[in-house]
Symmetry: C2
Subunit: 591 residues, 2 copies
Amino acid sequence: MPSYTAPTKDMSFLLHEVLKVEDSGIPGYEELAPDFTGAVLEEAGKIASQVLAPLNVVGDKEGCKLENGVVRVPTGFQDAFNQVRDGGWTGIDCDPEYGGQGMPNIIGTMVGEMFSGANQSFTMYQGLTHGAQSAIHVHGTDEQKAKFLPKMITCEWTGTMNLTESHCGTDLGLMRTKAVPQDDGSYKITGEKIFISAGEHEMSDNIIHLVLAKIPGGPEGIKGVSLFIVPKFKVNDDGSVGAANGVTCGNIEEKMGIHGNSTCVMVYNEAEGYLLGEMHKGMRAMFTMMNEARLGVGMQGLAQAEVAYQNAVIYAKDRLQGRAVTGVENPDGPADPLIVHPDIRRSLLDQKSFVEGARAFLLWGAALIDQAHLNNDKDADGLVSLMTPVIKGFMTDKGYDMTVQAQQIYGGHGYIEEWGMSQFTRDARITMIYEGANGVQALDLVGRKLSSGGGKYVMAFFDLVKDFIKENKDVDGMQDFTDPLKQASKDLQAAGMFFMQNGMKNPNEALAGSYDFMHMFGHVCLGLMWGRMAKASLEALKNGAGDTAFYETKLKTGRYYMARQLPATGMHLARIQSGADVVMGLDADNF
Amino acid sequence: MPSYTAPTKDMSFLLHEVLKVEDSGIPGYEELAPDFTGAVLEEAGKIASQVLAPLNVVGDKEGCKLENGVVRVPTGFQDAFNQVRDGGWTGIDCDPEYGGQGMPNIIGTMVGEMFSGANQSFTMYQGLTHGAQSAIHVHGTDEQKAKFLPKMITCEWTGTMNLTESHCGTDLGLMRTKAVPQDDGSYKITGEKIFISAGEHEMSDNIIHLVLAKIPGGPEGIKGVSLFIVPKFKVNDDGSVGAANGVTCGNIEEKMGIHGNSTCVMVYNEAEGYLLGEMHKGMRAMFTMMNEARLGVGMQGLAQAEVAYQNAVIYAKDRLQGRAVTGVENPDGPADPLIVHPDIRRSLLDQKSFVEGARAFLLWGAALIDQAHLNNDKDADGLVSLMTPVIKGFMTDKGYDMTVQAQQIYGGHGYIEEWGMSQFTRDARITMIYEGANGVQALDLVGRKLSSGGGKYVMAFFDLVKDFIKENKDVDGMQDFTDPLKQASKDLQAAGMFFMQNGMKNPNEALAGSYDFMHMFGHVCLGLMWGRMAKASLEALKNGAGDTAFYETKLKTGRYYMARQLPATGMHLARIQSGADVVMGLDADNF
């Protein structure tokens, strides 16, 4: 059975040596001393590896079952959920006013990565709840907040988000679910929603569904969509759980993976709901959840790649097969371990250099969110908004690829469910799809985010890269990083220029290259992250830091990324510059 | 439920307009007139789409079950197997002396693609049998051939190949299965083999296992391995099925996909076996199966990509979501079909341009095999041997990627088993692993095939490409093909040069780039194929061929491949030229 080890050392390095959180000037970050973060990470890591990881295969094998309207979660999930709840992990970065622990988002992100890496299906129950409570926290009335937040922060009540209907996913303007106003100010919600993660189960006393619906007579399409709070059980005035509401689970889906999470068809039949935020501005409120969820999904892509990589390394060191071409390395054994073979290393380094770069990227994003929220910094907000589709799209595409590569290390054993590597691939596959399929992320990036603020955020991004190169290109040892980064950034700018010059006349010129652009952007971000990590490592070595192997390995892993991953930007640029005609030229009938 | 439509038109185009089989001078090819091949393809296509495709989901859902030593195949498999058998499809390209239909390999390959595309798990039962009968045909004694071939060609008896043991896959020298010589010239085989596809089932009267084992006292390692015929039931002198042999199915594996095929642990307990080919030369005999199997697996990669693509197109035309950015295209509907969106087209064209290019590549390979065997052409044999790891490795890597892309078109529905797209991905995943994991293919290509015949085959390949470019670069309309092909071929040669210059001193310099080289090689091959297809299409249009849409679509699809796929060679070259140090520099402990 696969194992999971929390990458606490890497996280500490990122916090304290790369991001230097204590000196960042973000309110609350001054408390993030190494002793403190180390203790938090260690405790979370224990939960992840000892409580959640052993249930990952169980969840996959047993799945969730709908029996007489009741969803049974896999064996052990309830106990583990209680442990996570009792440890206060569910509200770690939530508002203390409502019972949260008030730590910054960056801490919640690291804990989320560990929990997701150990058990994605399980962690989704609390992840969805977190997103729902955020939406209520931002858009709810004081009364709504007082009523729902304390219980959701502790996961006594869990949450869901209900967007998709069978005929509409991306294009939510087509939705049919109705919300009819009642005299008491509430609404009666009627309709059917699909793909509702954690939609029904009995691990919590109540489930707070956030549901998009249309109020009859409102504007057509997406402009007539509002968001509603629809609890599974109505909540009495004293806060206790009351009568059942008109919402049932119609079915649970059989999926490729994440079997431990109940993906439900939810049927609303005149269910009592309460408007959350403004009427007809439901998408705005939902996007509070969506943006958080998108970063969370990018994190899941990384997390699955990390755990798959860890287990690939274990196997590559353990499995004896063939001899090193440069001479026997394990003379006492019948063969050498797989890890002596260059192509095995090529694959492992693809994985290692991705996960470490991606983690830096994710935590940088988390720090920007904290900076945006806690310092009310609009530029930070603009920058992280720009990068959100990249974190989601690039990190899940690559994260999935890495689970496939990790599975490949196992040869035939990777294809057998017994070894657990197939599950990482099957679970990771959903991350490319949910919370906006990756093609939609690319569209969001190129069609919306690039021009956001008149292009000022993307220009700020390029300036960041440029400044980094300028500051470091003459530092000893940094040229392995700054030279490739310069080239990759140049490619990315050339692609942006191509869009500007051609996309005005014909938007397809930009959109036909959107997916490639998202990947280029991801590579430049990871290249920048590797540059920063290299710089921190060189400084540590110069200052005589103890663990030289750690920093030297960082530098070597980073050089691998720069040498072997960044050249992808040239390919993406060539694809983009070939223009829209090759993409749009076929009649639909000729596909 | 997904559907399958046999790509007969594309196959006819390749046979008669690109490969021009009737004029090729290969014995038997003169009979491949369009009327004849059209009839064969049409009939095979009917079996594929009407008999096999409807059982694909059934096979996935039911899987194979081991009950009291008996393996139950999914509902409907036996009936379908009888139909395929009765139609003579199992021996279509087998020796008429033993009851085969004697058609060339290229016909068998096309039928194989259709059957595999419709139902990979099902088709493996006959595919493995075909490989086993080939090995007996080439290496067996007259008596063995007379005894086994007629029944195997009709699939009254099926066959298997037994290589892997739990502790050894690629490194077969480690195997422990023993073959003890008996006085009557037979051997007693004892040991346990794993991952035996079609290892046990009751669809045939007997199962002829080909088993690698070591004769005690023979040379150490791989040089002491011999190949044995071990029937499930011993065969009486009159050819009838006799007593049970000492072979049982110990277990069947739970796998990520190909659930309809029984992947067995086979336990040999003093089973009676007969040496096939020479003692201690078992690998040579097994490689007859392996080479055939590797091409067959490359074909499976293509086949899964084809069927996944077909269903992605259906969905993209049917599913209404969003509006075209350049103006509404479906004003009477609530939204436009997915296929209006540039990124959907980008994905569909990645798929379409791959499957059509890969099919041309596969059939070119099949024609080379016919040329090698039927015209005893050693150069053709050398060329197809060189390309075999590319057909296997590149076509299954890309084939798998394309199933993932096709699944992605479905959004959330792609992740739900109900829609069938997940199965294509899960089934295709094995093709990257079995018959030599793709890393082993890359090793075979760079470590063995490149230098084969003193490098004469790879030089012949480059000459082919060069000659094609020279002949066509000034032909109107061909520059979209010859220019990118020239650049890609130049990149490939530069990579080969890098290996030559650096690999002598340090073989890791070559092996650390082997995987990238395999992919570059694949792109150049598909680029050449697209060049040939473009040429045939331009000629057809010039000659006033009727179906202009077909030829124009070919040209457009080809231009897409050249513009958007061939630039990958530059990235692979950069990766290769970054050298072995970035790959080999880490101590194993630091992964």
